[in-house]
């Protein structure tokens, strides 16, 4: 299976913030979840993929094609949903279909209407009367109606209630059932990515600080709870990050089985993606 996205040495500087040598790969037929704090560079990375901004250095290949030289062909196969709805308030879903149809070679008006029905979106109601959830569903219907092979989703589930979020996640999982389909999704809601993603890349301060298969991360990373004295006795090379609290310390380890073998007296627990983010974002390096 070819890679849906390959990013090598991507750099983009805004002066006060820069993406630094980003290397990312989204294997075809899978979901890559991009996590990171606000301003970590997730949206900037996605904008570089879509050529919405100019990169300073690096190469990006999307669906086996160069993202600059073959931009228009690539975009025929890409569906985009961002954290807000870009359709004008005075349009109706029916209008959105008519506006987008000529832009895409494979626009499927029947499929678009099916999605509107499935999501319960009245085709003649003005978008200004839609709730946030309805707007995001409309964006998703528009992104899926031209039979894309790659979905790029930037905080697409942000601000949605759990029911709508679950519905949309189901749709992503349905989309990925086709082995030719792939999804790049950024989200602060790490629990969603734990459910759906195959791979996780963590961006921190414009760099990729963690990139691996989600199962490998969740199976291997762990949290050690200990006292300051116990922490001092641990080989710093074993610890990814450390957090010192009033009543003790916590440390993030990259291989909890190996750590357990080496320090059998210490407790190592499984850790969720959100806690890994907190460790890397707020913890200290030894």
């Amino acid at each position: 299976m070819n890679n849906a996205i390959e990013i090598r040495g991507l750099c983009k500087s805004y002066g006060d913030f820069s993406l630094q040598n980003i290397d990312l790969t989204l294997p075809g037929g899978s979901i890559l979840g991009l996590i990171g704090e606000n301003g970590a560079g997730k949206t900037t990375t996605m904008k570089c993929i879509l050529n919405l901004i100019r990169r300073d250095a690096g190469e990006i290949t999307v669906l086996g094609r160069d993202s600059i030289a073959q931009e228009r062909e690539i975009k025929q196969d890409v569906g985009l949903v961002m954290d807000e709805c870009f359709f004008h308030d005075v349009l109706r879903p029916l209008d959105v279909g008519r506006v987008l149809a000529p832009a895409y070679r494979d626009w499927d008006a029947g499929l678009f209407r099916d999605y509107l029905d499935k999501f319960g979106l009245p085709e003649k109601k003005y978008i200004k009367e839609f709730s946030r959830g309805m707007k995001m569903k409309l964006s998703l219907a528009a992104a899926l109606a031209h039979h894309p092979r790659l979905l790029i989703l930037d905080e697409a589930t942000a601000g949605l209630d759990p029911v709508v979020r679950d519905e949309i996640l189901e749709e992503f999982l349905g989309f990925i059932c086709d082995e030719d389909h792939s999804i790049l999704i950024s989200s602060h809601i790490t629990s969603d990515l734990e459910k759906a993603a195959d791979y996780i890349a963590y961006l921190h301060g414009g760099r990729v600080v963690l990139s691996a298969a989600k199962d490998d991360i969740l199976d291997n990373y762990g949290r050690v709870g200990c006292t300051r004295e116990q922490l001092a006795a641990i080989d710093p090379a074993e610890l990814v990050r450390v957090r010192r609290e009033t009543f003790g310390c916590e440390a993030l380890v990259a291989d909890r089985a190996a750590f357990r073998r080496r320090y059998p007296d210490l407790t190592v627990d499984k850790i969720a993606l959100e806690d890994i983010m907190l460790f890397i974002g707020k913890g200290e390096e030894l």
Partner: protein, 214 residues
């Protein structure tokens, strides 16, 4: 590209509705002899100048540009759609103006030649304005570009007022010596020069948008 042109018409449909209702009302009053051709020139100006500017404002409100640039149309395609929208409005305004002139002439409410020359001159001014304003909208955004629109509209009026106050008179009496055909041909060059300016303006806007980040 046709989808984006349709989008501009759809987002402007409320404005279009009022722009069309009012001229019909004035048209009836003009046929009844209560107004002159001025209403057509005002209508044409509103249509050709304000609607493309309005389209930028609607897009800015919806943050549409970022989405439009992610469509498989290319940046030139997105800019081209906006120019075609403006051009269609200009063509429609010209056709409407000509039709009104014909009706007024048939009903004996105006001189056909004079009316047509007025329409051609108005159309030319509008197209030139659009050719200047669209790149400004891409560069500065619709709100800041609007300031330049007011400058473009009022500067000639102020200059003419000053010219009159200073006793500067431009002798246009040579126009009386020209045949009707020569006058029409001469005035027809004005909108054509506007179309040429619109073509140059398109390339300027493309260059601005190529450098822009979304």
């Amino acid at each position: 590209m046709s989808g984006l042109i349709l989008k501009d018409f759809l987002t402007a449909r409320r404005a279009l509705r009022s722009y069309f209702t009012i001229p019909i009302f004035y048209f009836v009053l003009t046929v009844m002899g209560m107004f002159d051709l001025t209403f057509v020139t005002v209508f044409m100006t509103l249509l050709v100048m304000l609607l493309p500017m309005g389209a930028f404002s609607y897009d800015e409100q919806a943050k549409w540009d970022r989405y439009a640039m992610s469509l498989p149309l290319g940046r030139r395609g997105v800019v081209g759609a906006r120019y075609l929208f403006a051009l269609l409005l200009a063509l429609f305004a010209g056709a409407f103006g000509t039709a009104v002139c014909a009706v007024l002439s048939v009903t004996g409410k105006g001189d056909l030649l004079e009316s047509l020359l007025t329409i051609l001159a108005t159309l030319a001014v509008c197209i030139w304005m659009v050719a200047i304003l669209l790149p400004l909208c891409y560069k500065l955004g619709p709100e800041r570009a609007r300031i330049y629109m007011f400058v473009l509209v009022f500067a000639p009026i102020i200059l003419m007022f000053l010219a009159v106050r200073l006793g500067i008179h431009i002798d246009l009496s040579f126009l009386d010596g020209l045949s009707d055909g020569a006058l029409m041909a001469g005035f027809a060059l004005f909108p054509l020069s506007g179309l040429l300016a619109l073509g140059v303006s398109y390339f300027v806007s493309c260059a601005i948008v190529e450098r822009k980040e979304f």
